[in-house]
Symmetry: C2
Subunit: 354 residues, 2 copies
């Protein structure tokens, strides 16, 4: 079968790292006999918005809704266009309308990337953050009353549904069960957030009963972030709500040296809709246009995409090529103490793929 | 004048570290000619709850409401009594009913405490986290619908009031203005939490206009936690909502080696009600009763209490005594690689006070 991939570079460094991502995917596809077809789209970007007054065409769902996956660079250019227009008009729209209820991010200390945590070596930090990606704290329910007076107040509801909570927990427990350590950690804050978080805990307990082989524990989010720094070796699979998962999946990569190389998948596990694979980093207006952005996050996201499509060998070969590339100082980009530019780094990974 | 301090040891290690806190306060009071009277209370503890079926007497407000400050150990014993009873029945009640709208915590890398962050030395990390302590995400508004069905859903409102947001921002800007760097960082997440957080941002911008001497910036909470690990030297005063402040004030101390030594103040700046000073750590049932708990968090909280009361010199002398004690390995408790027990460590600090 030939995979059809929708390619959306987006904004800023998204456009610079995308060619390297594609270069590596093509190299791995060739080596492993995977057939891929890429369709390129210019929407979900500031340029498109400037021309059309909206982030995406009206028929965006038809355009990319039947692809096997979406390979996405970065979106957002806050100085030019407000976040609620750019992000809510594309990235968050995908998550909601394509029901990508899993946001999946590896936290892995790679060779050649100095950890900001004293004495940690590759192998010491290796876990997954599983984030609920459609509901929770990112709701659209709320509002403001008595504007511009002393009585002014604003509310926003966190919303957790049985369906929404159970399906993300099931995904996380299944992932834990598939791993050697079979260990799941739930992020909560039921001692302070007294209505939604106790519900989350309750559903974790119920789900745990269905996975007797998985050891599980829970931490309040405050001490959990502390433990990411103090005991990153404690974790195997960490599951959290939309907000807690968001926090942990930036903090985790930071603990492994940089969010510049971290990948992510916005996944609809049932395959009813395409999943989106994108680097964790944003469009980085401050360094855009200089050709120095680190392409590893984009490339690694490509590996996750191949794995998601079932092309495990091709995906694995990319991750191994990333590891070999990062191990060589001269092949790393400036942010990691090397002197390669975006293209040189991307080419190095593509060459290493076998 | 003689200060009247209400002393509440609470649960677990709270009872073990409290005597050391008092020992040091007495030593500093003596050296600096401060007159203090301590009133001891046994409520806000599991023992009290067992006897009386509630955490505090009905007239708790009369009992401790006119003291100059409350010196508090730790509360909570989750295996015996649910958090929503113990915490919401005491600690969080104090915060709300005594209008302690500021939660203030220093993040400072101390001599002798190895930082988990590679290459950071005392002096590199030295900032304050200012947390809104009465509203925000810790609201009591919400509920559950369609229980035990597939349609079940749970909501909880985050609530931000003009009064609540403005007064915490004012406190934080004033604190920043009083510091050499005059730098304030606001924790937000307005790109994802689309109603309350943009309001927070708006109020920060408005307040900033009143403090033209303060440089300020803002980060989304996800990247902010990453920056605590990657660039802790960037921060001077960090202000956040109830939840974000809670997270940052555990993560910050973790970046400086341990939450075991971190102090906090729950402050009513106007002085209409007493403020509560307590270590950041909890009752730690796992090590309670062994006499090995680190008393520094309790002691440092006492220093903050003296400073709050206006006894700057006495407060400073305690912080300096803590620094000198921590610098000696043999005077540190086990959690910091030393071999002193709780009492030996407390006595060492008391001896060092000058
Ligand atoms: C015990 C808990 C409710 C409390 C909080 O979240 O406020 C604690 O974490 C703190 O920071 O004082
Ligand atoms: C850009 C922002 C809305 C987004 C989020 O919070 O989900 C980002 O931080 C992420 O993690 O993908």
């Amino acid at each position: 079968k030939q995979y059809r991939i929708a390619v959306i570079p987006g904004d800023g460094i998204g456009k610079e790292v995308m060619p390297e991502g594609l270069r590596v995917l093509e190299a791995a596809a060739k080596k492993h006999g995977v057939s891929v077809h890429f369709d390129h789209f210019d929407f979900s970007s500031y340029d498109y918005y400037e021309k059309h007054g909206q982030m995406m065409p009206d028929d965006w769902k038809e355009k990319i809704g039947t692809h096997d996956a979406i390979y996405f660079g970065a979106v957002g250019w806050p100085a030019k266009i407000p976040d609620h227009v750019s992000l809510w008009g594309s990235l968050i729209k995908f998550r909601r309308e394509f029901d990508q209820y899993v946001n999946l991010r590896p936290v892995r200390l790679m060779p050649g990337v100095p950890s900001p945590l004293a004495g940690r070596k590759p192998g010491d930090i290796d876990f997954w953050v599983v984030r609920e990606n459609t509901e929770g704290e990112y709701s659209s329910v709320g509002g403001r009353m008595f504007p511009d007076t002393d009585r002014e107040f604003v509310t926003q509801q966190t919303v957790m549904t049985r369906t929404g909570v159970d399906r993300i927990l099931k995904f996380a427990f299944e992932l834990a069960q598939s791993r050697p350590k079979k260990h799941l950690t739930s992020a909560t804050k039921s001692n302070g957030i007294s209505i939604t978080m106790p519900y989350w805990d309750e559903r974790v307990e119920a789900m745990a009963k269905k996975f007797p082989g998985v050891k599980w524990d829970k931490y309040h989010i405050d001490i959990l972030t502390a433990n990411f720094v103090l005991h990153p070796d404690w974790f195997d699979v960490v599951v959290g709500s939309n907000l807690f998962g968001d926090i942990l999946s930036d903090l985790g990569p930071a603990c492994t040296g940089t969010i510049g190389i971290a990948p992510s998948g916005n996944i609809n596990p049932e395959g009813d809709f395409p999943s989106v694979f994108e680097p964790v980093h944003g469009s980085a207006p401050d360094i855009a246009g200089q050709g120095i952005a680190n392409p590893i996050g984009m490339i690694w996201s490509g590996a996750m995409m191949f794995e998601h499509l079932g092309e495990k060998e091709a995906g694995k070969s990319i991750v191994e090529a990333i590891e070999r590339t990062l191990a060589e100082r001269t092949l790393r980009t400036k942010d990691l103490g090397g002197n390669a530019d975006t293209t040189a780094c991307g080419k190095a990974v593509a060459d290493m793929v076998d």
